[in-house]
């Protein structure tokens, strides 16, 4: 703060110019040196303080002291200088406020390349996540959601789905039975549902067409656990019954759903199959999502589709008229389709999982990958 206002004797323009620039350069020098709020306060008071501040001195020593003819010129210059001082104080304050001092900020700096502190959030199970995704696709198409019991009667799991007692098609289901059912009539015997299709029947029993439902859930088969089999797995079943539902509608619906799940470039291929509860029945393949249906990947045959370019994904068909007989629907007036897909199979495809058992161990090293 070496600067102090000079007493002027010469009020000529050159003399005033010199004095003004002297003040201006002192001001900018002082402003630049301010590094802390404390320093700033001293700086502000020195220049602007009502008692003894530079501006007050200017007023006294220059303006008041100037002779009459020069007063106007001096007044103008003093005003300009006053503005300059005010601006300098303001900008110095702004500079101080944006960061106390470069030195202090430097002392506070962190190694921002260190990892952040993360609060772990739980991971959705890939199978349940996939099941929810499938359900969402159909909900967007106007399908309601239904559930049914995991322990079913023979009637719901088989008979009403057009698997007559002693029909060989039952062999394909590898059923797990509840013990101690021998004294009951066959249709009342309890078993673990082998598919989510019984929910179709339960739904049609409680409501009249139009029906449009998806039924996600757990199913069981008597399959020993290995890399591709699990006694417990999940299915999503769908059912649409209305007047004028056709095989073309089934194709369009399944095609739409597969595109929604696997991407719009996926193609579907339908070919005849057999399920007791649908007629005509179809198996559906999608074009291999690993090799884009080419059958070839990385210069060799695609392992995921066994070089065929297609992956089998779901079963479907037009609801067999016999099924309507079990739920008092008039097969002559309505028609409908049903489809079912294995959730694990789709999750395995989506995430490239190579062992189905990983889904059931609760291994956090596996689960956390889906977080």
């Amino acid at each position: 703060m070496a600067y102090s206002v000079r007493k002027l004797t010469d009020f000529s323009a050159p003399s005033l110019d010199a004095a003004s620039s002297e003040l201006a350069s002192a001001l900018s020098q002082a402003s630049a040196g301010i590094q802390s709020e404390a320093e700033f306060k001293i700086f502000r008071d020195y220049w602007m303080g009502r008692k003894g501040g530079v501006l007050t001195h200017l007023n006294d020593l220059w303006l008041k002291a100037s002779p009459g003819p020069n007063k106007r010129d001096v007044g103008q210059r003093v005003n300009e200088l006053k503005k300059k001082v005010e601006q300098a104080v303001e900008s110095t304050l702004a500079r101080i406020q944006t960061g106390e001092s470069a030195g202090k900020l430097a002392a506070e700096s962190l190694d921002i390349t260190l990892p952040g502190i993360r609060r772990p959030i739980g991971a959705e199970h890939p199978v349940i996540k996939t099941m929810n995704e499938i359900v969402r696709v159909f909900r967007n198409l106007g399908y309601s959601i239904e559930e049914g019991p995991e322990i079913e009667t023979d009637f719901y799991n088989f008979e009403s789905l057009n698997f007559p007692p002693n029909h060989p098609a039952r062999d394909t289901q590898d059923t797990i039975f509840i013990a101690g059912q021998d004294s009951k009539p066959q249709r009342d015997r309890l078993l673990l549902r082998t598919h989510t299709s019984p929910v179709q029947i339960r739904t049609m029993q409680k409501m009249k067409p139009p029906v449009r439902v998806v039924c996600p859930g757990k199913v069981h088969r008597n399959d020993a656990a290995d890399a591709t089999h699990s006694p417990v797995f999940h299915q999503v079943e769908g059912l649409a019954v209305d007047t004028n539902i056709t095989f073309c509608d089934l194709k369009g619906t399944v095609d739409h759903a597969m595109k929604a799940l696997f991407g719009s470039s996926v193609k579907t291929r339908f070919y005849p199959s057999f399920f007791p509860f649908t007629e005509p029945s179809a198996d559906v393949q999608i074009s291999c999502i690993f090799c884009d249906g080419k059958g070839v990947r990385d210069g060799g045959p695609c392992r995921n589709c066994k070089a065929s370019g297609w992956i089998e994904l779901l079963g479907c068909g037009m609801v067999d008229p016999n099924v309507y007989g079990f739920v008092d629907y008039d097969a002559a007036k309505i028609s409908g389709f049903a489809f079912g897909m294995g959730v694990e199979r789709i999750a395995i495809l989506k995430y490239g999982v190579d062992d189905i058992q990983l889904f059931y161990h609760g291994d956090v090293r596996f689960l956390e990958q889906f977080s």
Partner: protein, 681 residues
Amino acid sequence: MKLSPSWISDFVDLPVDFARLADELTLSGVAVEGISGEGDNTVFEMEITTNRPDAMNHYGVAREASALYDVPLKPLDIKLPSFQGKSDITIDIQDPELCPRFTAREIRGVTIKPSPSNIANRLQLLGHKAINNAVDATNYVLWESGKPTHVFDLDLLEGRKLIIRKARSGERLKTLDGVERELSTEDLVVADAAKPVGLAGVMGGFDTMITEKTKNILIESAWWDPVTVRRMSKRHGIHTDASHRFERGADFESTVPSTNRVAQLILASGGGALIGEAIDVIARKIDLAPVEVDLREVRRVLGEKLNALEVMRILTRLGFPVLAGREESYLVHIPSWRLDVEREIDVIEEIARLHGYDKFASTLPPYSGEVRELPDAEKNDRTRSSLLALGYNETISLTFISKEDARLFSTSSELDLENPLSEEASAMRTSLVPGMLDMLAYNLHRSCDSVRLFESGNVFEASGAKALQSKSIALGLTGKIDDALTAGLAAGAASRQLSFFDLKGDVETMLAPFSHWTLYYDSQAPAYFHPGRSARAILDGTTVAQFGQIHPQIAEERKLKQEVFVAEIFLDRLYQHDLRQILYEPLPRFPAVERDFSFVFDDDVRFEKIYASVFGLSILELRSFVPVEIFRGEKVGAGKYSLLLRATLQSDVRTLRDDEVALWAEKITVALNALGGVRRA
């Protein structure tokens, strides 16, 4: 099932190569799952659906190919030499319901020897053992045209007659596989005058089989009731190529041609003479009724405008003769080999199949109904997203547990499995806890020491003759808090062991969204928990959760090497409560005042009691009263603990004065003293 495309081409001139044939058969519903070998040795691995026994042989697949490519199907080449004399064999069908037709044929003077190479090679290519010229002839015919047949050593049959009857109580039969079987009166057998010589449609008898010594042969080809064959196959645990076909339905018209074809093959390789004509006994005729098919129905189901000509052409190619009826209606005759086609819809499927599924358009049906969510969808979402946010990983464990676990972890009566995968998985789970403990152990054994898991699923119990299913959710917790942090930026992120209170807090978070009048916790948790570190949550008088540290002894038995905390929440009970309706409360306008109370209590004074007694003072301005610090140790003395409590006081209408706060503090102090609390200096 393996088939040879080269053998198929005996019956049809294929316009395509084998690879394309495989692909196109698959697309028409006769699935070829794999191809191996080359040229004449190419083998198709077939996956024929249950409803198509007619396609489980070479001629049947040739018939499909003929329909598919619209090329002629060649007839089976059955030529027999002229027969001599008359056979005096008699066939006595005692049960026409179960055996509508039985055909037999006698050959004499045969030499039993290995089959000629063309027969043996074809059987071997498909993985069947060549045995001798007579037995191989029956196998060859089975794979050629699908009809199971059987050959007896005629000289070992007693009484020159075959009787088809139910087995008698106490009768036994040694079957071809060498197993001596006790017969049931439900079994249908082929018997000679004295004894059963074959299990109908399933397997022939050991004692009357063809051997090197056989000179005279009786060939059998019958039509058996599918359900009867299936029951016998199940009862005796024998599944044969024959039973597989009979239980799906054989071709009623094939008994004579198949008998003749077997005779032809045996005579060609083993010599001998044909005696008399085929003995063909029809006890009951099985006619497949013609089906009326209306083109309007075809369109209604398929949604594509197929014209009459196309439909006629498809059906004719398939061997279904068609007669035109009124308007757009047609009468379709069903060939004897297609027992699966009985109804209009079955014919519609045939039309769709041969037309080609890929030729149908893809459309989306219009819909204007409501979309219903599951009744508990919102509650489930809330629960699940809370747990994910709390850092619990979602899991799925097996639905089965051991009977011991089913009883240890629940008081409900368990449902056992009739055919379990193993002893450890022989009951339906009565609780999610054992599965959760297994998953925690799985992680601990793999050096993952800090684990949070949850599983949402059903548990099961027997209720009379019924099975009850209820929704439950299990939380599993072990290890340290903030373990993940110490791996990164350790500074300031103190790691500590998870405790009962971490779990309790999570349970509280889970229960908080549900509206209720009362919620309290007692210590009456089941015995598999640590008796001093477990609790039940009782919401409006119902136990909705039980949780705590697993009993150290059980933890040790299950090889859990560290403290493990588990909660089970009974969702069916919790979901009886609605989600809390949230109503805004005005924000406080006047400052709050805090006062701390540091007291020493006897151990048996529980916080619940302190809390109730302080709130019992009815100080309206008391907004909260929480424990801030607990201390035990020498300084405090045995059987006692020091507790720092913090009261927050606040008014809605004014700033509190010091004197009134002092008065309330004094009241609280008196209440704490009354509980035996002693203020710490």
